[in-house]
């Protein structure tokens, strides 16, 4: 660890802290339909959209209508993406002439990759079981995937605002209009920032074109060993069961191109995380410089941090907004520090090698990390991307030390409470706020109240439904996978606790709508594509529906005026309580599974055993 590294982490946090208020105020204006500086440009566009679609912007919805509208919108969008993928071979903007997704799978068996991708992008997960450069046409990338990057992010923000309205309103039946919230989130919160962001990324060298891929002659030819194939291009199997190999000389490299910058901006700003390239933000065309790296990390947290201020503003208790922000910040710092410490101290098995940071080397465990980012910015990125359910990666989480890898995994397991996905983070932590208020609220001798709203059995029931989603989906799918050699463990590249971590991470990432891959698992199979796809849908919608039910129920309630007897949700003590409940509920649920994964792997590493 270096002072410079810590300062970079601190600097990143200070930028987030600095934009929290302005962004929060801006979003409060946007969703209260008050005047903003962007109105002259955007207001006419907004009116036109409503005119064309027949949306009455003054009409409000009950939570049920809000939920049904959101579900229908998501279902239709998901279906459209599925179809685009399947027929992209017949559509324009396909200079590489890529076939439809899953089209070539008749010989190897249907792998349901298109379903997985459709579900994954609709749910803001962006889990990618495919290699984008060799699978998706430019049209699919732009009209299919980038559309969802905007759509799923705008849905998330709309839902967060609906939840905040539920808290702030008194004795009202409605929580807003989904279409209006969705349109305003897209036009005001996402679009302008993405245009600026894309331009800044281009300035750093991120590409933006529609050209076919380039081919470059290698300066130094490479020789690699590949499976030898017969004339019918079948793999030749030797009598002992292994395949026959031959050497192949590689003299040229294909350099993938495309409209990257425009997609990269929303990928980060909308906490989507689905890379244009397979290497995601480790790829030099997606994330070329330390500045672009900082910009991308900033984009991951900015909206979610801002929403805490919006929460305070709209609910009338700015201190509460900051108390929630503080809880997120505490959990962020714990994760970032542990990950940085675990990676910077290097690998104990390489004792004797100089692993300390100095002027000529970054030190620590550099396996799977980009030299231009180093330890601090790789672990910081890994922490941020898993805190916020973004899922973009600039380093291989699979190559982290066991504890370093535990941090991203644990972050996702805490279900989007540490800033979280845009919008999703807000309602993610508010569910925990409701639970914290209920558990500890009784201790002050009153029916628990959250900002004047009594938390009653209906709210607790819905909050418990939300908290059940994680253990149910992650643990059940992972448990089936680890005892199924044919379709589960056969896809692992590593055995032992590391293999368990890989499977756990996979389902955690899917359910948590994160989308980052621990890697080390070949997940493009029928079992994994289907289950992860289902996990993303459960992890998104099974949480949203009860959450909206709470919002609708809270909106109907009276507000008990605050007094000395009111449960305080604005104090540092509340922050401590909230953090404890998040950690204890998360830790208690997943500790047994984690102890057999990263924890025992970490302990084994000191006995010289790796996997």
């Amino acid at each position: 660890m270096t002072l410079n590294g810590w300062l970079q982490i601190l600097f990143f946090f200070l930028i987030i802290l600095a934009v929290t208020k302005p962004l929060g105020v801006f979003m409060a204006h946007v969703f209260n339909r008050e005047k903003t500086f962007l109105d002259p440009v955007l207001r006419p566009i907004e009116r036109l959209i409503y005119k064309l679609t027949g949306v009455d912007e003054k009409r409000e919805m009950r939570w049920t209508e809000y939920a049904v509208t959101m579900l229908l919108f998501s279902a239709v969008s998901m279906l459209v993406l599925y179809l685009i993928q399947r027929v992209q071979g017949h559509l324009p903007w396909n200079p590489q002439h890529l076939p439809g997704v899953d089209a070539g799978s008749s010989s190897t068996g249907f792998v349901a990759s298109a379903f997985n991708t459709a579900a994954s992008f609709t749910t803001n997960t962006n889990w990618q079981s495919y290699v984008p450069e060799t699978t998706m046409s430019y049209l699919t990338q732009m009209a299919g995937l980038a559309y969802h990057n905007f759509g799923s992010a705008a849905v998330g923000i709309a839902l967060a605002i609906a939840f905040i309205r539920g808290i702030a309103r008194r004795e009202m039946q409605t929580i807003g209009n989904f279409w209006v919230d969705f349109v305003r989130a897209s036009l005001w919160v996402l679009l302008p920032f993405c245009i600026v962001g894309a331009l800044l990324l281009v300035s750093q060298g991120v590409v933006q074109n529609l050209k076919p891929y380039d081919t470059a002659q290698l300066v130094e030819r490479q020789s690699i060993e590949v499976d030898k194939k017969d004339s019918a291009s079948n793999v030749i199997t030797k009598p002992d069961g292994t395949t026959e190999k031959e050497n192949q000389t590689v003299s040229e490299q294909t350099i993938a191109q495309g409209p990257v910058a425009s997609q990269e901006a929303i990928k980060m700003w909308g906490t989507n995380g689905g890379g244009f390239f397979n290497a995601n933000s480790a790829h030099p065309f997606e994330n070329p410089t330390p500045f672009s790296n900082l910009l991308e990390m900033f984009a991951i947290f900015a909206v979610s941090a801002g929403l805490t201020y919006t929460l305070g503003r709209l609910s009338g208790s700015q201190k509460h907004g900051w108390a929630v922000f503080a809880a997120m910040a505490v959990l962020f710092f714990v994760g970032a520090s542990v990950a940085y410490w675990a990676e910077a101290r290097g690998n104990p098995l390489l004792a004797g090698t100089n692993q300390t940071a100095n002027a000529t080397q970054s030190g620590g465990n550099m396996e799977g990390k980009e030299v231009r980012f180093g330890i601090a910015n790789s672990t910081l990125f890994a922490t941020a991307t898993t805190d916020a359910s973004c899922g973009a990666v600039n380093a291989m989480h699979d190559s982290f030390t066991p504890l370093g890898g535990l941090v991203p995994l644990a972050n996702i397991m805490l279900s989007e409470t540490i800033f979280g996905g845009v919008g999703a983070g807000m309602y993610g932590i508010l569910i925990y706020v409701v639970l914290s208020v209920f558990i500890a609220g009784l201790m002050v001798g009153r029916t628990p109240e959250y900002l004047g709203k009594k938390i009653e059995s209906y709210d607790v029931k819905m909050a418990m439904l939300v908290t059940l989603v994680f253990p149910l989906t992650i643990l059940l799918f992972a448990a089936i996978s680890v005892i199924a050699p044919s379709f589960g463990t056969s896809q692992l590249n590593n055995g032992g606790p590391h293999g368990l971590s890989e499977i756990l991470y996979t389902f955690t990432s899917g359910t948590g709508n994160n989308g980052s891959a621990f890697a080390g698992i070949s997940a493009n199979t029928y079992w994994y594509n289907t289950t992860i796809g289902v996990a993303t849908l459960i992890g998104r919608f099974m949480m949203i529906i009860p959450m909206l039910a709470i919002a609708g129920n809270l909106a109907r309630k009276k507000i008990v005026p605050p007094s000395l007897g009111t449960f305080p949700v604005t104090t540092p003590l509340f922050t401590v309580l909230l953090v404890s409940v998040i950690v204890i509920v998360g830790a208690l649920t997943f500790f047994p599974a984690l102890s057999l994964g990263p924890i025992v792997e970490h302990l084994l590493m000191y006995t010289g055993k790796t996997f």
């Binding site: 500890a440 001798g445 029916t447 606790p497 368990l500 047994p592 102890s595």
Partner: protein, 689 residues
Amino acid sequence: MIKQTKKVAVWNWLIVKRAIADSFVKLNPRAMMKNPVMFVVEVGSLLTTLQFIYGLFRPVAGVTNSKFELQITLWLWFTVLFANFAEAMAEGRGKAQADNLRKSRTETTAKRLLNATFEIVNAIALRKDDVVLVVAGEFIPGDGEIIEGVASVDESAITGESAPVIREAGGDRSAVTGGTRVLSDQIKIRITSNPGETFLDRMIALVEGAERQKTPNEIALNILLAGLTIIFLLAVVTLQPFAIYSNAPQTIFVLVSLLVCLIPTTIGGLLSAIGIAGMDRLIQHNVLAMSGRAVEAAGDVNTLLLDKTGTITLGNRQATEFIPLSGVKEQVLADAAQLSSLADETPEGRSIVILAKEKYGLRGREFAAHEATFIPFTAQTRMSGVDLNGFEIRKGAVDAIVKYVGASGHDVSAEMTEIVERISKQGGTPLAVSYDKKPLGVIYLKDIVKGGMRERFAHLRQMGIKTIMITGDNPLTAATIAREAGVDDFLAQATPEDKMRLIKEEQAGGKLVAMTGDGTNDAPALAQADVGVAMNTGTQAAKEAGNMVDLDSNPTKLIEVVEIGKQLLMTRGALTTFSIANDVAKYFAIIPAMFAMLYAANGGANGPLSALNIMGLRTPQSAILSAVIFNALIIITLIPLALKGVKYRALSAASLLRRNLFIYGFGGLVAPFVGIKIIDVIIHAIGLA
């Protein structure tokens, strides 16, 4: 602050004996199903029992130490029994009290009136609107309203208070309760309830907990606990595949042990006991809550409406000064005041006699020599006094006297008004006196604020509860007393309609309101209030409108009712927090024990996960056993806390939270580390594991 009016020891042997028997009766799965947490423990215990019996006949892979398995199974059963015992203990006191009440519901006969005569019938044959005659020495056969007569009644069977009370027809003291006894005189009663619906019947059902329904917060808490149980069920059920993957499959004994330790058995086992004990605590204070909902609402109350008289001030006012009109000697006024009050048996009247005696040495005189006629107070004249030797001496409401002397040409309204205003400003009540239709002056009656009320209101304010004093006094007087007593607000010259409007206003602002009342005209407000405590001396209408009845008829008790409600909620929250915090330590005991040998070096005793055994527990088996034993014993240990409730303190929510979070949250984190370690040392020492 909360005084136990009737102390019953928690560990009363008779109650304990009955509770032990009940703990086994409650094992009936149909009853257990109401408590999802403990039901899971029971199913787990059954599973291990079956597995153990199976293992006796056929060896099971991985199950070698039958002593360990037997102990686990037994302690799992103990966990269930301890939870049942807690509930039975809480019910015990109520049941004992119900038995006593039943005794007073002995077979009585009644004299049912038929026109001029009466017939003797069994009390059970009485129906609503029958009229009965009860004479001295007889039991009142059923709840009713006195329609004729006045009597002193012994209500000790219901209230426990041995001093007899006066009950009379008309007014607010007309209700009588079945099972009480008339001591003197005779009364005619119109029966107001059918057999089986009487107050005594309801009281028995209430103290016994027979009609106990889960309260809103209890339901919500049960949902939380059921949810946590499902989460931990998932965590444990899926742990087996992960363990199989890691080549360390677990036995059913270990898995059930882990599950039982993780699910919130502490609060799950004590939850219903806390609720029953809360109701019981009210009964110990002689307050009957008609529903548990009302007790919870009491904890949530934001506004207390308190009647001035009897609650904030002593029921009676005292004369403190004689203020003569100009030209009248003070002694003359005092003399007339005393004469007018000699026959006045009200506390105010007596205080006038005493003041005159103390100040001017005037003694009570014998009227035998004189021709004296006493004039009683009536609502029409609003005066009382005496006609002595042809002279009319009167005292009464100022405006009544002014009018009375004005008829004979004495206009003193200007001077009177001045005096009255001065007295009002000081929080007093003026009483004018006249002699021979000539005005003499004013007696200053002072309201005496009860001792300690100021501090209690300050405490309530600390807890965010607003107090509003309700009084029929004029605003000036009310303001002074309000200031003196330290209430937050007051409603002067209050009519029942004003009271109702005030309650509705507060409720519209999202507040919960509590009040006391006894009169029939209080009934609508009592029904409207979230917590309405009716006085037992009050009318039947009032008792039916409220959701609590105070058998002692002490309006100040409203404050204690609020405290008991808060204590009930606090106890639940504290034990929930404690229960959840406990889990952390149990993980550190059980997980390393389960996987102690996992990935152990060749022939080595301890695998890497032993590093998590931070308590240094002796063996994997003693670790698991210690955790299970701790988990069971903590239920027993906390029974007194569940029954008595956590100590109540009048603090702001922020300070309460800080305090309770430290004690039950942090304490709950630390306590099991210590407890499990101690148990581990003990069972190792005596060779159990």
